[in-house]
């Protein structure tokens, strides 16, 4: 009879999974995150994530302005549709909100009727229209050809030679990056701390002695980390997947489905790497104490790495996604799990940087398995006062 050591790890992991999936706080947090993300996506789409075209009415005397208005709106990236109406009917439609504005007058000046106030964007378009109209009138009065002037202005441009083209970050990617950062931070905090609390729970309830009579310390530690990791992974896939799906479905996200999938995959990869790294460290330091109230103190140094990476990331990257210091930090294993997924979601990360971060963090894991395993093994059976790290490393 030779028991398979991984069977015990599986049993331990299984207990962690079923305990955690039934934990009310866990369920509530996960559902709340999903709901908030979905609500956010719906809100974005409702608040004009997609610009609704303005509809401007023109009368028979101002209908000549319809085409120039659409052209000047287009130059400002504003969509304007025009409709020819009778003036009195048009005024009623403006009052009813069916028309954004009604162009009145004889067409020589820009004169609009609006309901309460002129929309700023539409106002800009009208302003350009008015300018063009004035210019056209002046050119005509000076005996020039307005069409030729317009063509000359249109073809005039600045020629720029760029030596290093910068990555063009768009606002949507920045937002996705921030959300990715928040998700991975939350997940590492919640699940990492769950590992620490689980270790101490076993110590404080003394059940660890009963367990260690049946399994080896490494099996207990590995099972715990694996079990909570699986739950965290499920959580990440569900939250990330639902968020992206709702975003795409509502139109809040206009990035391609493959780019969205890429973001979720990177999130999962970085959750796994980050969780394994931090959870192993959490398990080792938590084994040093025997009471739940001592957990916070002992995990604080490890937690600092998670928090520093996250806080620097969310406070600097949105305004300066190409920040050089953060680019360097995002390749250091201790900060990579929070910083790199944010940068990756924002885009413009050279492949070699992503590779260094992944390889470096992955290389930390076997190192931590060894070091944390040693500390955990030496500390987990010693109850009572907090054990010094040095004593746990090489017991007297």
């Amino acid at each position: 009879m030779n028991p398979n050591p991984w069977k015990a790890v599986g049993l331990v992991a299984n207990r962690e999974i079923s305990t955690r999936l039934r934990n009310k706080a866990f369920i509530v947090t996960t559902l709340a995150t999903v709901v908030i993300l979905a609500a956010l996506a719906i809100l974005v789409s409702l608040l004009g994530g997609k610009d609704k075209p303005f509809t401007v009415g023109v009368t028979s005397s101002t209908s000549a302005l319809a085409t120039p208005l659409e052209a000047s709106a287009k130059s400002l990236d504003i969509k304007v549709d025009t409709r020819t109406v009778d003036e009195s009917a048009g005024r009623d439609q403006v009052a009813a909100g069916k028309l954004s504005a009604l162009l009145v007058g004889d067409g020589s000046t820009v004169h609009v009727v609006v309901h309460k106030s002129l929309d700023q964007k539409l106002g800009n378009a009208l302003h350009v229209l008015a300018g063009n109209l004035a210019l056209q009138q002046q050119v005509t009065s000076l005996g020039g050809d307005p069409a030729a002037v317009r063509a000359a202005i249109a073809s005039a441009s600045v020629t720029t030679d760029v030596i290093t083209p910068p990555h063009k970050y768009n606002a949507e990617n920045l937002v996705i990056g921030i959300i990715a950062g928040i998700l991975i931070y939350m997940s590492l905090m919640l699940n990492g701390q769950a590992v620490a609390q689980g270790v101490v729970e076993e110590k404080s309830s003394r059940v660890v002695e009963l367990l260690l009579a049946a399994v080896r310390p490494w099996q207990l530690m590995a099972g715990k980390v694996a079990g909570i990791g699986v739950v965290g992974l499920i959580q990440m896939v569900v939250v990330g997947g639902v968020g992206v799906a709702v975003g795409l479905a509502t139109g809040a996200l206009s990035i391609s489905a493959s780019a969205a999938a890429g973001t979720v995959i990177w999130l999962v990869v970085w959750f796994l790497l980050g969780f394994l790294m931090y959870a192993l460290a959490f398990a080792a330091v938590a084994a040093l104490v025997s009471r739940q109230e001592d957990v916070n103190g002992v995990v604080a140094p490890v937690l600092m790495f998670v928090i520093v990476g996250y806080v620097l990331g969310v406070s600097i990257l949105p305004s300066d996604p190409g920040n050089g210091t953060l680019a360097v930090m995002s390749m250091i294993p201790t900060f990579a799990p929070t910083l790199m997924p944010m940068r990756l979601a924002m885009g413009g990360v050279p492949a070699w940087q992503a590779l260094i971060a992944v390889v470096g963090t992955a290389a930390m894991i076997p190192l931590l398995v060894w070091a944390s395993g040693r500390i955990y093994r030496n500390a987990v059976m010693r109850s009572g006062a907090r054990i010094k790290l040095r004593d746990a490393w090489s017991p007297v």
Binding site: S205, R206, A213, A214
Partner: protein
């Protein structure tokens, strides 16, 4: 016969010597009582046997072979520090522990049914452990030690905190297990219980086995006492019997120490010759006395009166 051998274990914690050449054996089918003052090394010995601690020197063997992981999973263990997951349900917790010990899922479920039934906590299977009374938690703890049909039982203070009914249930279970051929090793401070229940007893002092054997073997070498009350007899009537010495007197009652192998009937005849005998009882020293004698260091000569006298007196009166 298979036996659990604790072979000269030594363990130090820093400057403290917890075990100093600890050695004894527990045979299959017997209940072995492990007694000693607090800090004598009982818990450390058990933890080493379970592989929860490592010995500095020495070895624990079962059936002649050093205990490895496979054998250790066959041990039923009840740690001194009681421990269960407080927020896990009784049934789930026991199934989990049984499976960690290698039982299949159906076998584990069947064992949980059997032991919770037997230990009287079947109705609490779906309750969280923390909702149970301390006594019921103890029963669950015992179930946790028995759930995987252990081939060896090592129980640290299994009787502490139990009500009298639970003590009887526990005693019955231990006896059944021993009868089924399992060596049962348990520690306890309840010496009357140990004396009643155990086939053999080991008395530990300062990390060493001070005495080990059946209660009768432990008694040999120590002298039996006689309580004799002879009305109106001269105070020194007992002097006519060679070898007998006086421990104490109380009115007409004399507490006499009888040398090993001496015939108590000779004393009775001498007493009858001296006057009417109102009381005559032979008193064997209880484990408590042997224990006191051994753990107080044996500094006093045999039969040292200061420690043993009150106990003998009390026993003598009731005899």
């Amino acid at each position: 016969m298979d036996r659990l051998e604790i072979d000269h274990l030594t363990k130090r914690f820093g400057d403290v010597v917890a075990l100093d050449d600890m050695a004894f054996e527990a045979y299959a089918g017997e209940i072995f009582g492990f007694v000693g003052a607090n800090g004598a090394g009982k818990t450390t010995t058990m933890r080493i046997a379970l592989g929860v601690l490592a010995a500095d020197r020495g070895e624990v063997r079962w059936a002649g072979k050093p205990l490895d992981e496979t054998v250790r999973r066959l041990i039923g263990y009840m740690p001194e520090e009681r421990g269960l997951y407080p927020r896990m349900k009784v049934g789930e917790q026991l199934i989990y522990l049984a499976r960690l010990h290698g039982l299949s899922a159906p076998a584990a479920a069947a064992a949980v049914d059997e032991w919770t039934e037997r230990l009287g906590v079947a109705g609490r299977r779906n309750d969280e452990v923390q909702k149970l009374s301390l006594g019921n938690q103890q029963r669950v703890q015992l179930a946790a030690a028995l759930i995987h049909d252990p081939q060896i039982l090592v129980l640290d203070e299994p009787f502490s905190g139990l009500d009298p009914v639970a003590v009887d249930v526990m005693s019955g279970v231990l006896r059944d297990k021993a009868d089924a051929g399992v060596p049962v090793v348990f520690s306890s401070h309840q010496l009357d219980l140990v004396e009643r229940l155990c086939d053999r007893v080991g008395i530990v002092r300062a990390g060493r086995m001070a005495a080990c054997g059946t209660i009768d073997e432990l008694r040999s070498g120590s002298t039996d006492t006689l309580v004799v009350e002879v009305a109106h007899a001269p105070a020194d009537w007992w002097r006519t019997v060679p070898g007998v010495s006086l421990v104490s007197t109380e009115g007409d009652r004399a507490l006499l120490s009888l040398p090993d192998g001496a015939d108590d009937q000779t004393v009775l005849r001498a007493a009858l010759a001296a006057g009417p005998v109102r009381e005559f009882s032979r008193h064997r020293p209880p484990l408590t006395d042997l224990f006191r004698h051994l753990v107080t260091g044996g500094a006093e000569p045999d039969g040292g009166p200061s420690e043993s006298e009150p106990a003998i007196n009390r026993q003598g009166v009731s005899a």
